[in-house]
Amino acid sequence: MNTIAYDAYTIFWRELKRYKKSRSGVLIRLIQPAIWIIVVGNIFSETQPLIQSVGFEGEYIEFMAPGVIILTAIFTSIFGGVNTLWDRRYGFMNKALTSPISRSAIAVGKMSAISLIAALQASLIIGIALAIGVTFPNPLMIIPIMGIVILFSLGFSGISVTLAATAKSQETFWGMINLLGMPLFMLSPALFPLELLPDWLAVIAKLNPVTYTILLVRELMTGVSEGGVPILLSVGVIFAFVIAMVAIASYVFTREVNKPF
């Protein structure tokens, strides 16, 4: 167990080193969520009565800020696995595979690095949100929020690593990511409350782990509970999602990297 943790940390260390050295990447990854929160947040500002109808008193931008924080986490982590493909193409993977470290340690190391990077990106978006006037009734809530973002991103990095390990080409990988990322974001209360969705869409949204994460973050950020979902259920769903994804990713990764690329 000890060596698995050590090995996972080795990979984690390498991924973070690479992240640190790619400063332009940090900024590029911020552009999309920044556009969402600044542009979309203002475009929909007149929808405040809709939000108020479900018991939310603040500005629209304050309602959707948690959605954008999670959007950042989703996209940073679901893209994060792509370097698995580069590693396989350019030999780092073979280097790791011929060393004594275990295969699942590689997967776990990658996932933890991706989730931390996603959380860092999300925290930058929180910074932008604060700068454009979103307020936290209780600033201390940022700590549990970051905890949730890290956990949630770990689950999504699992999806990413699973897809990257099975995809034989960049095209397949990006295709799958686009197929998954946007719908998972849109089928959630990120932009509008669950209550306003048509029934059949609400049912689908309730099967989506993103929904529970956003409800939880929104409740911690604004203090407004929405849709009658208890905190404990949301926490339970997130944990179950993360455990399942990490397990699937470790299994699939170990199986796939043993095949020739």
Binding site: T3, R18, K21
Partner: protein, 332 residues
């Protein structure tokens, strides 16, 4: 004591047999080279030895451990330097080695000293803190090789160690490989398609073509076996070609003849006496000789004599198709 032992090793991808029933051993402390064109099965064999691929048939012991039953122990005892350079460009040279040290479980208190030792060996100490992106191709390769021997493996695998490097850099890399070999007393298994490389580095060479080992011997013995001189002919063929060949075979000093279109290679023990006889036969049969030359045998000639073709010929025609078919299969 053998460092590598393999019996009836076979690897097929679908109906393509990449490695076809090969058996051989490499002694401890030896530099052993696998020589062959691209797609001959060299890299596939190396991938089996380094536990990256599982053999379809047969077995292999590396450092005394079975690649199928004890892959982890094999990995603890090998260093693998791949054909492509695999160093992380955005990390510094030292950080790359640190990563390699951690991957190979070098005890924490020894890491720094080991890194200093190999940096000194490959003469990169003064560049160690610069990002690898600023390194030349040769420096990257040296760093890659250094990474492979950081944990003092029993067997070091080098896959085409100098491919794509210019000739001076190539010679320099050879020097480093020799230095490593004496300093660490490692068994080195390398693949190459450069004759000169195999000749200058290897104690023994295995010539591999179409997934089969054609011959294993020391470079010196291989060259001696061909006789001491080679006559190369380029002719203009006519209907008497077959009888020309027949007559040539009757000359007593000629050991072997290889045909490659209009080019004939005659392996002989006495070239100076053979040449006048060739002229006599050709004028009798009306065969026009466009050029003739007398040379000492090189490993190139050894290769031709065992495989019937030049190593570069294979690169372009046959194997591109073969590689393509292989990649297609792997992707399905």
């Amino acid at each position: 004591m053998y460092s590598i032992e393999t019996k009836s090793l076979t690897k097929s991808f679908g109906d393509l047999v990449a490695v076809n029933d090969i058996s051989f051993s490499v002694e401890k402390g030896e530099i052993f080279g696998f020589l062959g064109p691209n797609g001959a099965g060299k890299s596939t064999t190396m991938m089996i030895f380094t536990t990256l691929l599982k053999p379809t048939n047969g077995n292999a012991l590396v450092g005394g451990f079975d690649v199928l039953k004890n892959p982890k122990q094999v990995r603890e005892n090998i260093g693998f330097v791949q054909q492509e350079t695999t160093v992380d460009e955005y990390l510094s040279g030292r950080e790359n080695l640190l990563l390699q040290a951690k991957l190979n479980h070098i005890p924490k208190n020894e890491i720094n000293q080991r890194i200093d030792e190999v940096l000194d060996l490959i003469e990169l100490s003064d560049k160690q803190d610069e990002a690898v992106v600023t390194y030349s191709g040769g420096m990257r390769k040296r760093l890659d090789i250094a990474g492979g021997l950081l944990h003092h493996p029993r067997v070091l695998f080098l896959d085409e160690p100098t491919v794509g490097l210019d000739i001076q850099t190539r010679r320099k890399i050879w020097q480093y490989i020799k230095k490593i070999h004496t300093q660490f007393d490692m068994t080195i298994f390398l693949t190459t398609h450069y004759m000169e490389e195999a000749d200058s580095l290897c104690d023994r060479i295995g010539i591999i073509d179409h997934g089969k080992i054609q011959v294993i011997d020391t470079p010196k013995n291989m060259k001696n076996d061909l006789g001491n001189e080679i006559v190369s002919l380029v002719i203009e063929s006519n209907s008497n070609y077959d009888s020309f060949l027949l007559e040539l075979k009757k000359i007593e000093f000629i050991k072997k003849i290889n045909e490659d279109d209009s080019k004939l290679t005659l392996f002989t023990s006495n070239g100076t006496e053979v040449i006048p006889q060739i002229f006599q036969i050709s004028s009798e049969l009306g065969i026009k000789i466009k050029s003739i030359s007398l040379t000492q045998p090189t490993l190139d000639d050894v290769f031709i004599s065992y495989t019937g073709h030049e190593i570069r010929d294979d690169d372009s025609k046959f194997n591109r198709r073969r590689e393509h078919a292989k990649m297609k299969r792997l992707r399905q």
